[in-house]
Amino acid sequence: MAKLLDRASEKAAAHERLDFDEGVALLTEGETHVLAALAHKRRLHLHPEPVVTYIVERNINYTNACVTYCRFCAFYRAPGDKEVYVLSHEQIGRKIEELLEVGGIQILLQGGHHPDLPLTWYEDMLRYIKERYPVNVHGFSAPEIEHIAKVEELPVETVIRRLREAGLGTIPGAGGEMLVDRVRRIIAPLKTTTEAWIDVHRTAHRVGMRSTATMMFGHAETLAERVEHMERVRQLQDETKGFTAFILWTFQPENTAMWRYSKLESHQYLRTAAVARLYLDNVRNLQASWVTQGARVAEISLRCGVNDMGSTMLEENVVSAAGTTYALDGPGIERSIRMCGFEPRRRNVYYEAVLS
């Protein structure tokens, strides 16, 4: 093991590709500060400028109705529950106007897997937004798209093309959770399989869309399975080059069916972020998860491989339903970035600089 670890560290320092065993060795045995330093070194190799980016974006969750019942989720309500909501076009419009007032350029539009809404409902929502507002819609997720395809009995590719024509810009990596079917069967037995998640993203990339990849960890997975997840993402990225960023966060157990799981704080977060930076040599950007980790740990992660502070969110309904409520606005994010010795820079979904 020591030899494997040494080789992994040397390869990481030389910016060479790590194999699976080396990734596992680093995550399992790597000394925390060395991992952080190697990841920071890699980050500077990829992004030599002392800049940390972020995007002014708002979350909009169009419905909380969901028939997938993931055990890790505190946000969904079963159809028929009195707390079920579906946002109207006007409600969505008002939320976007609030975003535009603070200089926002993108919405993260996501919802539960509603049993009845037809594809035309989603198309109408997208057209309503795009006809009125100059925002990128970073929307849905592989499981939502697969769900719509099932409801409509249409191929995934048709759904993606139609959503795109209606105004969908890019697709978030949500629903990735842990791209290991053993784990998915435990935490989300009714949700998209690993293969199906990969396939939605592959299809989206093939039709010319970009997407992100995410990982939710700190529940039923092993350390090796975290690396397996990274491996799946890296393989698809070799094939398509369609991922703009990798985003990892820790499972928040409160109010979920998995409340008995011991919540990870930050130690594992930092180590896993560092290994992700080293392992995913073909994904340019690594986002901080201040939503689950808070501003202070997000700041620390900027010396640990992370080069992007994510988004301003404005409203956050999923993680906060699980009892975790951190808030950061644009000025707060910029202050965090500056305190850590970097220049803040606003970006768009493609990580291109935009004027503040």
Partner: protein, 382 residues
């Protein structure tokens, strides 16, 4: 207990060999005492990972893989204070809305549920109340000792004790002797803030100055009362003032050996007159823990006070030089009134989980850093 020179088996990892603080890292590794200039360099360096590695090496040399916690309970008996420190969100004036003062009976009532629950320590600090008689303090200690004989009492910052001397016209030695006779076991590290006169004049000019703080601690040590020391960082102090603060503590420890732990405290910005400063960064939190560990080669323990740092940063601090995460606490007001988002208490089970996630072995201690339940331990661990 200055650390002996390290055995030469640890060598600096390749990734840190180009670090701007390599000379300081190597000195620390060799067990050499760091200078003022070294301290400044460490604070100024952006290489918080090399810094953490070095502090962790020293921490593991002293304490192995152990991280301490304890079962404790805070008692903030009053928030009424004659002083007006700029960084404080806790204090009120007499009669002001939100002011409180507990009678000795009320103090007992508040802690009654903890009787025979294996508590190791009461941590008692309050505002500097303008009119309470000295007997209030000794009565409170005696009553607590009577009701909770197994629980160590860590009480009253140097600021409160200096005021009691002023109030009674007694010497510090006499005040401390009487407090000790009434049940005082230990003096907490608060009120140190930043020792530099320039800073104290701006943020807490009314209260005891640095010399007086040291007199209280030195007197306590002479009477066999161990103490802690803090530094409230992240407001208007300079890096040089931080290092000066830490080195003054090192000098005290060289003279007396009475300091048990050093606790860097992050300034909390809400609801006080320094609010516009905002909170210091997470990197700064780790830096303060690590530099504290490296400069204070003669202080045994570095505490990552989770109430103040947040659970997450405190957990990381266990790899950046800290070997103690403080306790279960329950009912903390001083930092919560300044906007701390931490819970006001953690269960023992949760504290142990947090320590384990950091790869450390949780060990319950008593107020004096004896392993709880061990021979020589005080307190009443279950």
């Amino acid at each position: 207990m200055r650390a002996a020179p390290a055995p030469p088996r640890l060598s600096v990892p390749a990734v840190f060999r180009t670090s701007d603080i390599l000379p300081q890292v190597e000195k620390a590794l060799a067990g050499e005492r760091l200078t003022f200039e070294d301290g400044v360099r460490l604070f100024q360096s952006e290489d918080v990972n090399a810094l953490g590695w070095a502090a962790n090496a020293v921490r593991e040399r002293l304490h192995g893989n152990v991280a301490y916690y304890l079962k404790n309970r805070h008692i903030n008996y009053t928030n009424i204070c004659k002083y007006d420190c700029m960084f404080c969100s806790f204090y009120r004036k007499e009669g002001q809305e939100g002011a409180w003062l507990w009678s000795v009976d009320q103090v007992l009532e508040h802690v009654a549920p903890y009787k025979d629950k294996g508590l190791s320590e009461f941590h008692i600090v309050g505002g500097v109340h303008p009119t309470l008689p000295f007997s209030y303090y000794t009565d409170m200690l005696r009553a607590l000792k009577r009701e909770h004989p197994g629980v160590a009492i860590k009480a009253f910052t140097a600021i409160e004790i200096a005021y009691l001397a002023e109030l009674t016209g007694k010497s510090l030695g006499d005040v401390l002797k009487e407090l000790k006779a009434a049940g005082l076991d230990m003096v907490p590290g608060g009120g140190a803030e930043v020792f530099a006169d320039r800073v104290r004049y701006k943020v807490c000019r009314d209260k005891a100055d640095a010399d007086r703080w040291f007199e209280v601690h030195e007197t306590a040590h002479a009477l066999g009362i161990p103490t802690n020391a803090t530094m409230l960082y992240g407001h208007i102090e300079t890096v040089e003032e931080r290092v000066d603060h830490i080195l003054r503590l090192r000098d005290l420890q060289d003279r007396t050996g009475g300091l048990k732990s050093y606790i860097p405290l992050a300034y909390h910005p809400d609801f006080n007159r320094l609010a516009k400063l905002g909170a210091p960064s997470g990197l700064d939190a780790l830096r303060n823990v690590a530099v504290g560990r490296l400069l204070l080669d003669n202080v045994p323990h570095i505490k990552a006070y989770w109430i103040m740092l947040g659970v997450k940063v405190a957990q990381l601090a266990l790899s950046w030089g800290a070997n103690d995460i403080d306790g279960t606490v329950t009912w903390e007001r001083i930092y919560h009134m300044a906007g701390a988002e931490t819970p006001e208490g953690l269960t023992e089970e949760r504290l142990r989980e947090v320590i384990r996630e950091a790869g450390r072995e949780p060990v319950e201690r008593d107020a004096f850093y004896n392993v709880a339940g061990s021979e020589g331990a005080r307190g009443n661990p279950s």
